[in-house]
Amino acid sequence: MKVKLYNSLMEAQMNRRNMLKGAASATAIAAVGGVGSAITTRPAWASSDLRAAMLKIPGVGKGSPSDADWQKVGAMTLGPTKEVVKEGEFAGVELTFMGLNNQNLHNFLFRGFLKPWEKYTGAKINWVDLAQADYNARLQQSIATQTVDFDIIEMGAPFEGDVTGRGLASEMPDWVKSVIDMDDYVDYLKAPVGTWGGKTYRVSIDGDCHNFNYRTDYFSDAGFAAAWKAEGHKGEWEVPTTWQKVQEVTKFLKGKKDPLSGLAAHGYLDPLKGWGGFGFYFLASRATAYAKHPDDPAWLFNPEDMSPRVNNAAWVRAIQDVLDVLDAQPTDQINADPGTTGFQQFLAGTGSMLSWWGDIGSNAKTSDTSVVGDVTGFSILPGSDDVWNHKEGKWETLASGPNYAPNMAYIGWGVYVMARVDSDSKKHKAAWSAAAHLGGKDISLWAAAYPSGFQPYRNSHFNIPEWVGAGYDEAFIKDYLASEADSYNHPNAAIEPRIPGIFQYYSVAEDELAKIYAGQYKSAQEGADAIAAAWDKITDQIGRESQTKLYKSSLGI
């Protein structure tokens, strides 16, 4: 269901259940595809009670879910599997699954989710757990040395060029498309994401974007409001909606006290330490509003020749912004990676503004370590009063107001089956069945609602009453889901190129950024030039011609 359509139905005071019960709803559902379309293997209304019951495991505010909870959810969502797989059909089949073990999530959840599946089908799964920082290297080595030793992989869309482009993945059978209801995906996750050469390979389990997380208690604090006026700042004391304001607020908060903890107050949190390439996304989140012009799909490289844009005026301004608020960051921030800013700082009550994936929202109220569940608000990433027009080489102020460009960082995790199972039909079906179970419509809702490492990515995930039924505060969840939906559906979203070796670019940029933040370059421009030079070197090494071709294709040029 389209978010817009859903919202309009909500405005008409029609809840989902009533809508589905109503005769007229059948037409509406058929019109939008998804939940009730002909290819769906089971009627959606049959699972609405199940979804409500599933979302009460363990219940929001009742602590972090455990392995027992994951297994319960896995068992409750076996319905679609049972429709296509007979009990014990995969007896004797062994599959190897490679994925992450971040924050004891990802593979840990998959284990629990798949245990009832293993019991029902008779298959056995062996696990390869990888730390986030080790993931890229392990995958690249397997690809390059032709030692793919896993049957199923949890992988991000940026690697599709490396894996599907080399014919290493198995094409998705049509029955899987029906089981997982692909029409329900938000638009930006539909083809070409997940496809290569017209073939579909990916079961989406996540939809990634960076949203803007802020502390509501900071921006409703009367003391801060009075001080804001007293210090002569323009406008009201409110949540910043542009990076210019974020900078101003961050500098303003220096030296003040946090309303929750009484410790030092901080504004926007920048991760200044690398994170195996993933840290670069956080500079990108600052830069997209400056660098992604609505009339230009490119923002990282020039599509004509892959020459980097990372040293243009927009990116240099983003780097300079970080440098300008270094002294307003928490102590030792130079040693804080994104994991620290998200989980050890923001969720633990340090700092008031943060760009991160949706994990902050799904953890704020459900994680044992979060203290900010009641004081967290969300929006899309801030915009900018002006935007860099790279083609014209000048800053522009848009007639429509500030330029917004949400960063679709990583495009979400997916489950892919490797081509090595294709020669064995039983194994092939087992692998795809396991992938389909993990990417199922109901199980994904639970994963979006609780700490999992995954955020909402289906239109059906934006059904607020379901979240409220799980125990979420309505205002909180509306705010959170709106920040996600508005990012996904934004017309000027900055979508990452799916080109081989993309993390090499990010990794080398992290090394140079560390030097920039440590003051080893004379200026942000000099540091950005060093990143650009390193990127050019990588492009030449991987092959400029093929990279340019793939980059253009990923931009839809």
């Binding site: 102590t331 070796g501 090394d511 440590a518 991987i542």
Partner: protein, 368 residues
């Protein structure tokens, strides 16, 4: 075979017939030919010169193992008792060749190639390009410079280890307890040290050491905030782990010193300092040099604590050569360049250790 001048005490007298010797030679040369052919065939297949070949190099490995077995067997067939003696060494030699020499040569061939795992073109020979890149790479030189600092810190570690060893060698209460207690950090994995100490105890908001620092008046404790502080903290964590290693070696040395020499010094009226400096310390030099040498080798491999705690930051201040190579290899899949950096580092280590040992040798055995 003459048994008259046999100093190796051959107990049997072999009568090797020409046919037997010829069979032995056939065995070794035949298997070698098979091995050589399989290598040649696979190389030609890899370079698309021939249309047929193996899916992978495993059959070539089997041919190598077959040749190795034939070589061993042929020693006995051709040389009898003497050949049996060769069997005591030959398998080990073949093993070393397979596991050390061959990988080293293979590594060398990789280091002179352009091999980025993301490149669809695969590996390409690029001569000295990687070396030229290294020469102009500020990250590598920065890491080398840091290694000099890290290595110099061993002198302080040595002094502390010596002090602790002297303490444990003296008649103190709870001597056994302290020996075990002081040894415990060595039993910890550096990765555990990174997380327990670097990430938890030194955490600036809640870490107990940060709290202690605030309690004693350091308002905003930061253990990794500046280049110097971060480097010093890494050095301290690494030292905490490995000082016990040096201490235990020195302690063993101290316990092996003849008591009579020290007692004679005391009888001759030497003060405790003179007794240490002019008797104990010189006697301890050989063991000290060994401990320092092993410690240098450990130190040159320093990476795990850095990777986990600082990722080489801030701004490369704590980067070690190994942690830099690790990033080049792991995050950037730059196998060719990463291997060259490792090879150059290996050569530097071999040269530096050789010079160090020569200097120590001259110092300890002066030639007048």
């Amino acid at each position: 075979m003459s048994t008259q001048a046999d100093l190796l005490h051959v107990v049997t007298s072999d009568h090797i017939t020409p046919r037997r010797a010829a069979f032995g030679r056939f065995l070794v040369w035949g298997s070698a030919g098979l091995f050589g052919l399989s290598v040649l065939w696979q190389v030609l297949f890899e370079f698309d010169v021939t249309a047929f070949g193996f899916d992978n190099w495993r059959p070539v490995l089997y041919a190598y193992v077959f040749w190795a077995i034939c070589l061993c067997v042929s020693q006995v067939i051709i040389r009898g008792e003497q050949g049996k003696r060769a069997l005591f060494v030959l398998p080990a030699v073949l093993f070393v060749v397979s596991m050390v020499v061959f990988p080293l040569l293979f590594g060398l061939s990789i280091s002179f190639s352009d091999w980025n795992l993301a490149s669809l073109d695969g590996r390409k020979f690029n001569g000295f390009d990687n070396f030229r890149q290294m020469w102009a790479d500020p990250f590598y030189w920065n890491a080398l410079k840091n290694m000099v600092y890290y290595t110099l810190a061993i002198s302080v570690e040595y002094a502390i280890a010596f002090g602790l060893a002297l303490l444990l060698n003296s008649q103190i209460r709870g001597q056994k307890f302290f020996r075990v207690a002081f040894l415990m950090p060595l039993m910890l994995s550096p990765v555990a040290v990174s997380w327990m100490v670097g990430k938890s105890m030194l955490e600036v908001r809640f870490g107990p050491l940060a709290r202690l620092a605030r309690w004693i008046g350091w308002e905003n404790p930061s253990f990794f905030g500046t280049a110097e502080f971060a480097r010093a903290t890494i050095m301290i964590m690494d030292a905490w782990t490995f000082i016990p290693f040096m201490m235990i070696m020195i302690l063993a040395g101290l316990q092996a010193i003849p008591k009579e020499v020290q007692e004679a010094a005391i009888v001759d009226g030497a003060s405790p300092w003179q007794s240490f400096w002019q008797v104990t310390f010189p006697l301890m030099l050989p063991i000290s040099i060994t401990a320092i040498l092993i410690r240098i080798i450990f130190k040159l491999k320093l990476a795990d604590i850095i990777i986990n705690v600082t990722s080489g930051g801030p701004g490369g201040a704590t980067d070690s050569v190994t942690s830099f190579i690790f990033r080049e290899y792991r995050d950037r899949s730059n196998v060719g360049y990463g291997t060259l950096l490792a090879m150059v580092y290996l050569v530097l280590i071999v040269v530096a250790i050789t010079i160090f040992m020569k200097l120590v040798d001259r110092w300890m055995n002066p030639r007048y």
